[in-house]
């Protein structure tokens, strides 16, 4: 039961701090913590992404009966198709969680720079993506008898995932406002992330096949430039995308 007026403490004026770098970082941290804590309880997002990713590599394993040489050439493509599809599932679910109970409005009502919400969501999505990738890589290594523990490959996965999540988080916040959000996100996302996927596949293949660094650098540079540009675009546009 609610306490009666006479029992409750008197209203004391609380001074909410003005927006600044500290409030930005605190809000960003709060959003990341909230996403991880909610996922620890429900395990909806990670389990869906993982099951989907593992099914994709299993299907490829049985569908493509590959010799050792062909396997080396298709590995990067299979990996990035798996990451991209599983990532879309995660991005959709992550933003749907905000929309379902009107929580996105709750976030937007907070007196913080709204890009803190974007970066918080993006970092949460990136962590989920990394967890899925960390599980998929050893499973893939075993199924395809291929050694994927290569520093260069991990660098490409890091850069590719950052670009994919930077754009994906922005577009999922746009798609979630529509009734056809599940269908709309991949339609919006895949054309925009084509440069990331091509550069990631080429870069991964280069490291796995031991190609000269001089030939791999252009793909790494493309990934770095893409990551910087789209993170900046998201920073500048998120506020307009989420407001009616």
């Amino acid at each position: 039961m609610m306490k009666s007026s006479s029992q409750t403490v008197q209203r004391t004026k609380i001074e909410v701090p003005v927006s600044g770098p500290r409030t930005f970082l605190r809000a960003l941290g709060a959003v990341v913590w909230k996403d991880l804590a909610a996922e620890m309880r429900s395990r909806e997002l990670l389990s869906a992404m993982l099951v989907f990713a593992l099914l994709v590599i299993l299907i490829f394993n049985f569908a493509l009966e590959l010799d050792a040489q062909t396997r080396a050439t298709v590995t990067s493509g299979v990996l990035w198709v798996t990451f991209a599809f599983a990532g879309t599932l995660g991005l959709n679910r992550s933003m749907a969680m905000e929309k379902d109970r009107g929580c996105l409005d709750g976030l937007l009502l907070a007196p913080v720079d709204r890009s803190a919400i974007y970066f918080g969501k993006a970092i949460g999505n990136l962590i989920f993506m990394f967890i899925v990738e960390a599980i998929v890589l050893p499973v893939y290594s075993i199924l395809y008898n291929t050694n994927l523990f290569n520093g260069g490959l991990l660098l490409v996965i890091l850069l590719g995932s950052v670009g994919y999540v930077a754009v994906g988080t922005l577009l999922s916040s746009m798609a979630v406002q529509t009734r056809t959000r599940d269908v709309l996100l991949p339609i919006l996302l895949f054309p925009v992330v084509i440069p990331v996927l091509i550069a990631s596949v080429k870069g991964s293949m280069g490291f796995l096949q031991g190609i000269e660094m001089a030939d791999i650098w252009p793909w790494l540079n493309l990934l770095i430039v893409y990551d910087v540009i789209f993170t900046a675009v998201a920073f500048m546009t998120f506020d307009y995308i989420v407001e009616e």
Binding site: M1, M2, K3, S4, S5, T8, V9, Q10, R11, T12, K13, I14, E15, V16, P17, V18, S19, T23, R26, A27, G29, A30, V31, W33, K34, A37, A38, E39, R41, S42, M97, R101, G102, C103, D105, G106, L107, L108, L109, A110, P111, V112, D113, E243, E244
Partner: protein, 240 residues
């Protein structure tokens, strides 16, 4: 008295449809205004503009002296919003939800404040339970707790009684009275005239995108409120 909310010539369009047509609205500090109107009158749209969740096509909005959308962050610091959706995370506990929103608002001495608010809304005993296990009434009380956590000067309620049974509604009324009794300015949209007649100090009727009528509780017999409401929404456009 200080003016807490001031709206001038507000226009809002969705595509070709104009929802708000040059709406003027003013609320003094400490007033409890019930915003009444038929379905589709634009009550929720108007409240979303006041809450800085939606941008108007034209017009001026000032809350606590700050202009929207230019000073939206300053407005949000002074605003608490409760809608018919709870804006709470089902997979977090009541305490975790308040703690999360407290961090978003930068509420000082957060542990104490969270306990104080849980006490206010009568959920201390359920503070470690997941919100998805709560009844609709409990979720709505926690939603009010979330909205008052940072001690806002202005509270906006968008049909907070939606989906509540009689007991839960009565309990919510107690929380609303508590919130208003602490000197806050309250604007609440509702369909339920009987319920608002008991709570509000002023009744504004939104019809055809403008405030078509406004009456203070001291100026009207609560039994005549329904007749006044019907007369106002049925009068030809342009006659206030």
């Amino acid at each position: 008295m200080d003016t807490m909310i001031e709206v001038r010539k507000l226009i809002k369009r969705f595509g070709l449809k104009t929802i708000l047509r040059g709406l003027d609205f003013q609320v003094e500090a400490g007033e409890f205004v019930a915003l009444l109107g038929p379905n589709g009158a634009g009550k929720t749209t108007f409240l979303r503009i006041l809450a800085s969740l939606s941008r108007p096509a034209m017009g001026q909005v000032r809350i606590a002296g700050y202009a929207l959308p230019a000073q939206a962050s300053a407005v949000r610091r002074r605003l608490g919003v409760v809608s018919h959706q709870p804006l709470l995370y089902g997979d977090l506990t009541a305490e975790e939800n308040l703690r999360f929103y407290g961090r978003m608002y930068g509420v000082p001495a957060l542990d104490e404040r969270v306990m104080e608010v849980l006490e206010l809304v009568g959920l201390t005993a359920r503070r470690r339970d997941l919100v998805r296990t709560f009844s609709r009434g409990m979720q709505q009380r926690l939603a009010i707790g979330r909205a008052v956590l940072h001690d806002p000067d202005v509270m906006l309620f968008d049909e907070p009684h939606t989906g509540l049974d009689q007991d839960a509604s009565a309990m919510l009324d107690n929380v609303l009275r508590e919130v208003a009794a602490r000197g806050r300015t309250v604007v609440m949209t509702s369909h339920d005239l009987a319920r608002t007649a008991d709570l509000a100090s002023r009744f504004d009727i939104l019809s055809r995108g403008v405030i078509a009528g406004s009456v203070k509780r001291s100026e009207i017999d609560p039994n005549e409120l329904l007749a006044y409401y019907r007369k106002t929404i049925n009068q030809p456009a342009g006659r206030n």
